[in-house]
C-alpha cells in the first residue's frame, strides 16, 4: 500500500528553492533512503513528506489516518524541563508500562528507564528517540540520521533493529543516512538528492550512476558498480545543473 506519494514537490523560501521537483513514494514494508550532500534538502524533503513544511508546488498524497513515528535530526530538550526516559516514551502516545519496558529492552536501554534524557550519551539518546517513535506502532517511520553519535558496533545493531522493526510492524521507513555501505546493503530504494532528485531506484542502480560517483567519490561507488550508465547533466559546487553533451541517462532527464 502506498503510504506517501510526492509528485513534483518544490519548496521556495526567500526566493530560493530548497528543493525542487522532488518525487518519491513510500510503500508499506519498504525502506526508502535519502542520501545527498549537506544542504541537499534531505531533511526538508522528509519534513515535507510529513506535512510539517508546506509544499509551494507539486502534490503530496498521504494515506488517510497515517500514523507517523518521527525521529528528527535535532531534538534538544531544554534542561529546564525535567524528563525521564520513561516519560519521554509517552510524549505523544499513551503506551502501557509493559509496552515501554518492552520497547526499551528492544532498543537496548532498559537500564536507563528512570534516567533524565539530558544525561544520556549521544548514542543512548538516539536509541531512546527511536524507541519512542516505534512505540507508536507507526505506519510510517521517518528517521532523520538515526545513528548520529552512535559508535560503530551500535550503528550496526541499530540498523539491524530498524530492519527488524520493518518486519514486525510492516511499516514503511523513510531514512536519511550518511552510512553509504549500510544504505546500499539494506535499502529497497535509494533517492539521491541534491536540491532535486538526481537519481533514484534500487541501490545497485544508484550506486552505478555518475551523480552518485560525483557526490561520494569513486571509492564509494565501486562497492556496488553493477550497472553502468551516464547522466545528462552534472553539478557545479553550488548544486546548479550543468547539462553534458551527448549522454542520455536512464536515471533522470531534466526537461
Amino acid at each position: 500500500m502506498q503510504l506517501i506519494e510526492m509528485d513534483g514537490v518544490g519548496i521556495k523560501r526567500q526566493g530560493r528553492w530548497l528543493i525542487q521537483n522532488v518525487s518519491l513514494n513510500v510503500k508499506s514494508g519498504e525502506i526508502v533512503t535519502l542520501i545527498g550532500p549537506n544542504g541537499a534538502g534531505k531533511s526538508t524533503t522528509a519534513k515535507t513528506a510529513l506535512g510539517v513544511l508546506k509544499a509551494d508546488v507539486g502534490t503530496i498524497k498521504r494515506k488517510p489516518d497515517l500514523t507517523v513515528g518521527y525521529v528528527p535530526q535535532k531534538l534538544a530538550i531544554d534542561w529546564t524541563m525535567p524528563l525521564t526516559v520513561r516519560r519521554l516514551m509517552s510524549l505523544t502516545a499513551k503506551p502501557t508500562a509493559a509496552e515501554i519496558e518492552a520497547v526499551l529492552e528492544k532498543t537496548g536501554i532498559p537500564h536507563l528507564i528512570n534516567s533524565n534524557v539530558q544525561q544520556l550519551s549521544g548514542g543512548e539518546y538516539q536509541r531512546a528517540l527511536l524507541a519512542r517513535a516505534i512505540l507508536r506502532r507507526p505506519d510510517l517511520l521517518v528517521l532523520d540520521e538515526p545513528v548520529q553519535g552512535v559508535d560503530y558496533s551500535g550503528e550496526i545493531a541499530l540498523y539491524n533493529l530498524i530492519l527488524k522493526i520493518r518486519e514486525e510492524l510492516n511499516c514503511g521507513i523513510l531514512l536519511i543516512s550518511h552510512d553509504l555501505h549500510v544504505v546500499m546493503a539494506q535499502t529497497d530504494t535509494v533517492v539521491c538528492l541534491n536540491g532535486h532528485v538526481c537519481c533514484s531506484g534500487a541501490p545497485e542502480h544508484v550506486a552505478a550512476s555518475d551523480a552518485y560517483r560525483q557526490m561520494f567519490g569513486d571509492v564509494a561507488s565501486q562497492s556496488l558498480a553493477i550497472y553502468n550508465h551516464h547522466h545528462d547533466h552534472s553539478h557545479k559546487a553550488d548544486g546548479t545543473i550543468v547539462p553534458s553533451k551527448g549522454d542520455t541517462g536512464d536515471c533522470c532527464n531534466h526537461g
Binding site: 519534513k47 510529513l50 506535512g51 510539517v52 500514523t67 518521527y70 530538550i77 525535567p82 505523544t92
Partner: protein, 271 residues
C-alpha cells in the same frame, strides 16, 4: 481575619494555582520576556477600559491578546529579531497607556497599585472572576496537556505526529493573557512575570517529570502568596513586591536545600 485579607488570600491562591503550571511552560519555552511584554501592555488595556467604560479585566484581556497576535504576525514577517520586537511592543504599549491615562484628567487613579498590586483593591467580584478564569485555564491545560507538552519539546515532532502546534500556541497565548488580566490587582503589571517564573524555577530542583514540576510550582506559588500577603500586612508594603520577595526567599532556600541533598547523595554514591 478581616474580610479583605480573606479575599486577597483566596484571590492569590486561585492565581497561584494557575500561574504555577503555566509558568512552567513560560520557563520551558523561554518566553519570560514575552510574558513581560504582555503584562506591560496590560496598562494600555486599563487605560482603554476607563476610556470606553468597560470592565477592567476585559480591557486588559483584549489588549494583551491583540499584542500577542501582533507579535506572531511580525515574527512571521521576520524583519526584526524577536527580542527587538518584544521591546518595541512592550514599551510602546506601556507608554501609550501612560499617555492615555494622562489625557483623562478627571480620573482619580492609583497608578502605583496597578504597577505593584494592592490587596485592598481585591473585591468579591474579583475573587469570583479569578476562580472562574482559573477553572477554565486549568480545564484547558488538563485536556491539552499532551499536545502542549509535545509542541513545547519539539514543534515539528508534535506536528508530524498529529498535533496542531499553531492552535496550541494560540490557546497558550490566550491563557497567558487571561492570567495577566486576573493577576494585575494582586501582583501588579510589573511583577506578574516573576510569579510565573520563580515558583517554576524553584520546582525544577525537585521534579523528575513535567507533571511533578507543574504541581510543585503551584504549591510553591501558593506558599509565596500566603507568606507575601502576610508580610504585606505586617510591613504595610505593596502586595506584589511582597509576594515576589517571598517567592525569592523560597527559591534561595530550596537552592540551598537541593545543593545539600545532592551533596549527600553524591557522597552516598561515592562510598
Amino acid at each position: 481575619m478581616d474580610d479583605f485579607i480573606i479575599r486577597a488570600m483566596l484571590a492569590g491562591i486561585g492565581l497561584a494555582l494557575v500561574s504555577g503550571p503555566l509558568g512552567c511552560f513560560v520557563v520551558w519555552r523561554r518566553m519570560a520576556y514575552f510574558g513581560d511584554t504582555m503584562s506591560h501592555s496590560a496598562l494600555l488595556g486599563v487605560a482603554l477600559a476607563f476610556l470606553l467604560n468597560i470592565n477592567l479585566m476585559l480591557g486588559v484581556l483584549a489588549v494583551t491578546v491583540t499584542v500577542s497576535i501582533f507579535l506572531l504576525i511580525l515574527q512571521k514577517r521576520g524583519s526584526l529579531s524577536t527580542d527587538a520586537l518584544l521591546g518595541l511592543l512592550s514599551h510602546s504599549a506601556l507608554a501609550l497607556g501612560m499617555v492615555l491615562i494622562a489625557f483623562m484628567s478627571d480620573l482619580r487613579f492609583d497608578l502605583l497599585s496597578l504597577l505593584f498590586g494592592d490587596i485592598l483593591a481585591v473585591g468579591n467580584e474579583d475573587v469570583i472572576a479569578i476562580y472562574a478564569c482559573a477553572a477554565v485555564i486549568l480545564g484547558l491545560m488538563y485536556f491539552l496537556w499532551r499536545p502542549l507538552l509535545a509542541s513545547t519539546v519539539n514543534r515539528e515532532l508534535a506536528e508530524a505526529e498529529g498535533f496542531n502546534p499553531d492552535l496550541t500556541q494560540l490557546i497558550f497565548m490566550v491563557m497567558m493573557a487571561a492570567i495577566i488580566a486576573i493577576a494585575m490587582k494582586i501582583v501588579g503589571v510589573l511583577l506578574i512575570t516573576a510569579l510565573l517564573i520563580i515558583p517554576a524555577a524553584t520546582a525544577r530542583w525537585f521534579a523528575k517529570t513535567p507533571e511533578q514540576m507543574a504541581v510543585a510550582s503551584a504549591i510553591i506559588g501558593i506558599a509565596s502568596v500566603i507568606l507575601g500577603l502576610e508580610g504585606s500586612l505586617q510591613f504595610d508594603s505593596a502586595s506584589g513586591p511582597s509576594i515576589v520577595v517571598a517567592s525569592l526567599c523560597i527559591f534561595l532556600l530550596s537552592l540551598f536545600a537541593s545543593r545539600l541533598i545532592n551533596g549527600v547523595l553524591a557522597k552516598d554514591k561515592g562510598q
